[in-house]
Amino acid sequence: MVPRVWSLMRFLIKGSVAGGAVYLVYDQELLGPSDKSQAVLQKAEEVVPPALYQFSQYVCEQTGLKIPQLPAPPKFNFHIRDSWNSGIIKVMSALSAAPSKACEYSREGWDYLKERIK
């Protein structure tokens, strides 16, 4: 009798945890349109760091431990997208101008040789 009740209780607990997870996903529309997903991600970026900080402060107060203050990460003023785009543009413009430049340089080289031979 007791093992049956215990197995039923275990099934109900597992079912409620899984059902709660499914309901949370449905309620927050995490598997819906991309606009909602982007809004959820922005909201998480705003909410999670202060929550983590408050939790760490609470743990420090309760346990008496002190978390060492980490130095601020260095800020890089390097825009990957801009440098990638400018690199692509420069490579493509160099490739498009390569035949005319090659003709011009070869003509100049030929004229220089003719001058030297004379």
């Binding site: 597992k14 079912g15 945890v17 899984a18 997870a21 499914v22 996903v25 995490l30 598997l31 349109p33 991309s34 606009d35 909602k36 997903s37 982007q38 809004a39 959820v40 991600l41």
Partner: protein, 78 residues
Amino acid sequence: MSDSELGRKWDRCMADAVVKIGTGFGLGLVFSLTFFKRRMWPLAFGSGMGLGMAYSNCQHDFQAPYLLHGKYVKGQEQ
């Protein structure tokens, strides 16, 4: 499609992919721990489903360039 609009679409696609893959992984983790005896296949299944849904959303977004994306604003009670 202008460059800024294209950039916004790519940003939306990346954010959508992160959220959907994470959600699929999370749901797979929950079901793996509760019903499927800590097997790996629910995690792979959930992540794969999330990836597929994100890819489908991105595909619709890029192939239908004239749809407007608005923001949801809660109506204030008067």
